[in-house]
């Protein structure tokens, strides 16, 4: 046994550490557990936020999609009918008729054409319902093409009939008040 070994043997008791109080260990364990819990909570919170944000995003997308729904522009684009500028032509023709007037005595006869214009608007709603139920069926594209031709013809007809009525009214007045046709 050398001197160093002898020294270790003699001071064995001194060199051994005192046992640590259990309370200290408990405190350390508690501290570690708290830290772990904090990490878990943070993870859960972040996960929750991510899920919540994703769901919110989905909800906004769905609501936006619902709000937009099907409309004339979407349908015309789907059938490649925007090139005909139907909406613009219809609006221009309607604009020309906004302030058009006819003698009151002729107004009731005229209602027939105005009702047909309303019917056509209702018809387009029928196309929308059909597409919602059955998707973009090809024949609807042909129908819409004919629909707009008919609508433009109808607006032209309304214009020419107004012109005709007012032309003869100047030559042979009926002496009644003029009323706006209200398109």
């Amino acid at each position: 046994m050398n001197n160093f070994e002898k020294y270790l043997q003699d001071n064995k008791d001194k060199l051994q550490s005192d046992s640590v109080d259990e309370k200290v260990w408990l405190m350390i364990e508690n501290e570690m557990l708290k830290s772990k819990n904090r990490r878990s909570k943070r993870f859960l919170r972040i996960t929750f936020i991510v899920i919540f944000m994703s769901l919110l995003g989905c909800l906004i997308y769905v609501l936006q999609d619902q709000d937009e729904g099907l409309n004339e522009q979407k349908i015309l684009a789907e059938y490649d009918l925007t090139k005909y500028n139907f909406e613009e032509k219809v609006n221009t023709k309607k604009q020309q008729l906004v302030s058009a007037t006819v003698p009151e005595t002729k107004f009731e006869d005229f209602q027939i054409l105005l009702q047909q214009l309303e019917f056509m608007d209702g018809q387009f709603q029928d196309y929308i319902r059909y597409i919602e139920q059955n998707g973009y069926q090809e024949f609807i594209g042909d129908q819409i093409l004919n629909f707009y031709k008919s609508k433009i013809e109808l607006l032209d007809k309304i214009k020419s009939e107004i012109d005709k009525i007012n032309y003869y009214e100047k030559i042979k007045p009926s002496y009644t008040e003029y009323v706006t046709i209200e398109i």
Binding site: D109, L113, Y130, N134, Q137, F139, F147, E161, I165, I171
Partner: protein
């Protein structure tokens, strides 16, 4: 050592080949499981001498879709695709109705199904059946979609297409794809009644019986029919070669008949299926339609608004009510009686032996081209504002108080033209 290495190599090769073979077997089995299965249902029944056949059209199939529908269809197909564009329902829109001399009605419907579970497809085909029944009143109902009540499809963000066929019995069977094609054979003498409110194309052979159609968005191509009764909305091609008598009510449609005895327009109101939700929109029984007729004996227009009517030849024409419609006649043989408003009338060739033209109208243009050899009396109401009439070509025959009567031709004749049209343009030559 060498022998053992070779043995290992051959064992490995054998195992690899077995694996490949097994994989092919699995793929083959999978392809068999997902294969389309077709079955053609045929039923033929004898019928009596009086038979009325009521049929829907192939596109009448009930559809309930919840989710995304994508469509990539052709004109002759009514098809629905799911969210990834996979075709789920494919119905041939053409309904071919052949007529024959046999006293038999025959239905042929081909069904093609594809399902994840082969047993489902087989079960569906086993449960489907034709229901041709000869009713006590000689009536036969045909369902082009057999006993299918509904095609249902659901899909969502996290859900692929879930397609189900609901049968009339209430049974639901899961499928991936359904295809339908129907063909009918009916006796020539049968009366046929067709209904449909989705786009379809009907091709009908020679029918000696009557045809009653209530259609929306349909195309009908027929050869000949005895009596035709049609209620049409947005039917852009309704074409017949010959019809004995026709009674047509329509809106926004195109009807062409080459030859007919009597045609009536707008005598009956449109059927409910052909109306819009708000009936105030359209009060007229015929509106915004285009009619093209070849040779007619009689045309009667009962209620027309903003129609366009073109006739090649007609003997007699009666217009009871017409507003804003246009009438163009190439040749008028006998008579025209019209009580209308805002209706332009053009007669390209009035037969020299015509009997009577009597028009009450307003705010319109009337053009009549007469035969130079004809003789007739022309009566015009004095208080009407009429433009374009060349009085110099006529000699005043009589002053009847309210009317001036002019004479054309040197011979005495019973032919008369009476015009009471205020604010009109009238040319006769």
């Amino acid at each position: 050592m060498k022998k053992s290495s070779l043995h290992i190599q051959s064992t490995l090769l054998l195992k690899f080949n077995t694996g490949v073979a097994l994989m092919y077997c699995l793929l083959f089995a999978q392809s068999i499981l997902n294969a389309q299965i077709s079955k053609t249902y045929v039923e033929e029944i004898s019928v009596g001498k009086q038979v009325e056949i009521l049929s829907n059209v192939p596109s009448s199939i009930g559809v309930n879709v919840s989710g995304t529908v994508t469509t990539n269809n052709t004109k002759n197909r009514y098809s629905l695709s799911g969210k990834n564009g996979d075709l789920r329902l494919n119905v041939l829109k053409d309904l071919l109705i052949e007529t024959w001399d046999k006293a038999m009605v025959r239905q042929e419907t081909k069904i093609t199904v594809n399902s994840n579970d082969d047993n489902d497809a087989i079960r569906l085909l086993a449960l489907m059946k034709i229901k041709l029944v000869n009713g006590p009143d000689g009536r036969i109902d045909i369902d082009c979609n057999l006993n299918i009540d509904l095609f249902k499809m659901k899909n969502g963000w996290f859900r692929s297409d879930d397609c189900t066929i609901q049968l009339e019995s209430g049974e639901n069977i899961s499928i991936n794809y359904l295809e339908l094609e129907t063909k009918l054979f009916i006796p020539k003498y049968a009366n046929l009644n067709l209904k449909g409110n989705k786009h379809c194309i009907i091709r009908l052979g020679e029918l000696d019986g009557d045809l009653d159609v209530e259609m929306k968005y349909a195309e009908i191509y027929g050869v000949s029919v005895n009596n035709l009764r049609a209620s049409l909305r947005s039917c852009y091609n309704v074409i017949f070669e010959s019809v004995e008598n026709a009674d047509i009510s329509s809106s926004n449609s195109y009807v062409k008949i080459d030859k007919a005895n009597i045609i009536s327009i707008g005598s009956q109101s449109l059927n409910d299926a052909c109306k819009l939700a708000n009936p105030k929109y359209m009060r007229s029984n015929s509106a915004q339609s285009k009619y093209k007729f070849g040779q007619l004996n009689t045309l009667q227009i009962s209620d027309s608004a903003n129609d366009e009517i073109v006739i090649n030849e007609v003997d007699n024409l009666i217009m009871k009510s017409s507003n804003f419609s246009n009438l163009e006649i190439n040749k008028l043989r006998k008579s025209l009686i019209a009580d209308v408003k805002n209706t332009d009338i053009s007669i390209g060739n009035l037969d020299k032996d015509f009997s009577e033209i009597n028009i009450t109208n307003a705010l319109s243009t009337i053009e009549i081209s007469t035969d130079k050899a004809s003789n007739y009396l022309l009566s015009l109401a004095k208080d009407n504002l009429i433009e374009g009439f060349d009085e110099a070509k006529f000699s005043l025959y009589a002053d009847e108080g309210l009317n001036n009567v002019y004479r054309f031709g040197s011979k005495v004749s019973n032919s008369t033209i009476t015009l009471n049209c205020d604010r009109c343009k009238f040319t006769i030559y």
